[in-house]
């Protein structure tokens, strides 16, 4: 019998029938549904799209966005790219890592995941961040404290 994950993934795949190049949209939908791309999802997708598991695995692992494990309750994506470096981004990033007690890709004890991102298109108001999907410009330690307080984290 199909597991709950397999059933849900099957439904997601079915919604994409008839699409040209459905794999990437399916993976996004799976990640949106589960918060990550569960291992069990891959065989279902592979079979439906007539691909090998290795092919699907090769696609999933290529992209930085797809997670094999769920992230924390909250997510901070901090820009590491040049324009944000020019406005002191490296020091801010170091302070954030220090305050959360994690390195890049880590999740703090209070459930905040820190991911690097290379440019958010907010390069004239850096350092830039995406905080639970919301854009933030001129990010700094004070802003981090305010956000953590709001989250109770």
């Amino acid at each position: 019998m199909a597991s709950p994950v397999e059933t849900r993934v099957g439904e997601i795949v079915a919604r994409h029938e008839g699409m040209e190049g459905p794999l990437l949209p399916i993976l996004h939908a799976v990640q949106a549904a589960f918060g990550h791309v569960p291992r069990d999802a891959l065989p279902v997708i592979a079979e439906a799209l007539n691909l090998s598991r290795a092919e699907v695995h090769g696609v999933v692992t290529f992209y930085h966005d797809f997670r094999s494990e769920p992230a924390g309750r909250h997510m901070i994506r901090l820009c590491r790219a040049e324009a944000c470096q020019a406005t002191g981004g490296d020091a801010v990033a170091a302070a954030v890592r220090d305050r959360l007690g994690v390195d890049w890709h880590g999740t703090s004890g209070s459930g905040v995941t820190l991911e690097p991102v290379f440019c958010l298109g907010l390069c004239a108001c850096g350092p830039a961040a995406l905080v639970d999907g919301e854009v933030v410009g001129r990010f700094d330690a004070a802003r981090l404290e305010a956000i953590l307080k709001e989250w109770g984290a």
């Binding site: 799209l49 290529f62 440019c119 958010l120 298109g121 108001c125």
Partner: protein, 506 residues
């Protein structure tokens, strides 16, 4: 009273939503008759959130606005008043062709769009033959704004003449280059222009299906573009009969998943197809065997969004702007450590010094400018000694640099150019698709070599130079092939930063 407030991501990142909320609450409390129009950004990011008030003379700008400023602005007594928006030096200096409507209209109002000249280009295109449209684009001198600067008309001609029942227009909205945001601003501020440009590209080449591949880092742009496609279908701009003609064209939005290399056109095609997005060897050209092996135009957002104005005003009008073989206008994206950052659309030809010292007003920190990286993470670092370089494809190439997507990132004198060179190599190592050894392995070795230099080992400098040559010559695409630009420019123009550790060691 009519107010205009940007909801561009940069405005949101600086607090526009709190301002919007304050306006709504105030209007409700006082029962005022206030219409708040949400627009794209005028591009003056240092003034965001920028609030505009309609007056008989035109829109008056206020910025940067906080919620506390709102009552005084509505009363006409605010000290944040900047004067008429159109008269501000930043606006007056520009030639806004591609960005004419951005920051002016409600991005998702077809009525606004048409009232400001939208669809004029498409209407004219519908009265022309496909070869005539291609000729118009070729004569305009438009070159690809994604980075490589390839003539758009020639690409279209190849696709138009390629045999095939199903062809595609793929819009590259991956905008991976750091320091760039023109695609984002255009999509958030005037998405129907991009739709219109893609439809015209379809008419010119016989393509009937379009894709816009937007990076996942742009949630706002994705939302607005999806809205624009739905509107365009409802308005008959997209669909089986474009504006009632015999031509069909439709568009789907696709979302990337955080891989810089997917901006490379063949990697992008693999990504949309659902394959592992490694770079494809060329030939075959995507124009002949692109998406699903069928003829495909891959063009940048700005290339496609410039098509409507060229069709509206004619090739000669567009070609008359510019310098040398760089025709028309270019949306400069001024970023990093600058007093005034944002988007500035202007004819090619300004010198880097004019851009950095005059338009940007120098650094935000007030310290001297040390280096300017032009053209994204694969672009060279320019020292002040090269500030006389005029903005143009050939002019930058002659200085071992590139225009790229026209991002300009300014660093003050606290920048450590060895660290910047290291970052360029680290970025290449993280983002390499892995297909060629000089890129995949070379970038990792490069980081190690820079670390040796940092530790005082001068013998590592020629090794770094050799490595860069190998990457340049042995890489399939510009990720491995151009990473040497930032590295070598840092080493060449800022040798002191590579010697400091050695001096310390001695």
């Amino acid at each position: 009273m009519r107010l205009f407030l940007s909801q561009d991501a940069a405005a949101k990142a600086l607090g526009s939503e709190a301002v919007a909320e304050e306006i709504r609450q105030l209007a409700e409390r006082r029962g005022d008759d206030i219409e708040l129009v949400r627009t794209g950004s005028r591009g003056m990011v240092w003034l965001e959130p920028l609030l505009e008030v309609e007056t008989p003379q035109g829109r008056v700008a206020y910025g940067p606005v906080t919620p506390a400023d709102v009552p005084a602005i509505l009363a006409g007594t605010s000290d944040k008043a900047l004067g008429l928006t159109e008269e501000l030096p930043w606006m007056k200096g520009q030639t806004r062709l591609t960005f004419a409507r951005v920051g002016v209209i409600d991005p998702l109002s077809p009525a606004d769009y048409q009232a400001h000249g939208g669809l004029a280009g498409l209407r004219r295109a519908l009265s022309m033959t496909a070869p005539e449209i291609v000729a118009e684009i070729t004569e305009s001198g438009l070159r690809g704004r994604g980075g490589a600067g390839f003539p758009t008309g020639i690409k279209w001609k190849t696709v138009a003449e390629a045999p095939g029942a199903r062809k595609y227009i793929v819009c590259n909205a991956d905008e991976g280059d750091s320091g760039t945001f023109a695609d984002r601003m255009l999509m958030e501020g005037d998405p129907l222009t991009l739709v219109e440009g893609m439809v015209i590209a379809g008419l010119a080449t016989g393509a009937t299906q379009g894709f816009v591949y937007i990076r996942s880092e742009y949630p706002d742009a994705i939302r607005v573009m999806e809205g624009a496609v739905a509107l365009a279908r409802a308005e008959g701009i997209l669909g089986p009969s474009v504006l009632g003609s015999a031509h069909a064209f439709d568009i789907e939005i696709r979302v990337g998943a955080g891989a810089y290399v997917c901006g490379e056109e063949t990697s992008l095609l693999n990504s949309i197809e659902g394959l592992r997005p490694v770079v494809r060897a060329k030939p075959p050209l995507p124009a002949l065997q692109g998406f699903m092996g069928r003829p495909t135009v891959v063009n940048n957002v700005i290339s496609l969004a410039t098509v409507p104005v060229i069709l509206e005003k004619g090739a000669a009008f567009y070609r008359d702007f510019g310098l040398g073989r760089s025709r028309g206008t270019i949306p400069l994206q001024i970023a990093g450590n600058v007093r005034r950052g944002g988007l500035y659309e202007v004819a090619f030809g300004l010198t880097l010094g004019q851009i950095v010292d005059e338009i940007a007003g120098g650094t935000a920190s007030g310290r001297p400018v040390k280096a300017v990286q032009v053209g994204g993470p694969l672009g060279a670092y320019f020292p002040r000694a090269l500030f006389d370089t005029p903005f143009g494809y050939e002019e930058y190439a002659a200085k071992d640099g590139l225009v790229g997507h026209a991002g300009i990132v300014v660093f003050d004198d606290t920048a450590d150019m060895l660290a910047q060179a290291r970052f360029a190599l680290e970025f290449c190592a993280i983002e390499s698709c892995g297909k060629c050894t000089p890129c995949r392995i070379g970038a990792v070795r490069g980081v190690e070599t820079v670390d040796r230099i940092a530790a005082g080992d001068a013998a590592a400098i020629p090794i770094l130079t050799d490595l860069c040559n190998t990457m340049k010559l042995g890489s399939l695409c510009a990720l491995g092939g151009f990473t040497p630009y930032p590295v070598m420019s840092a080493l060449t123009h800022f040798p002191d930063d590579f010697a400091r550790a050695r001096e310390a060691a001695e």
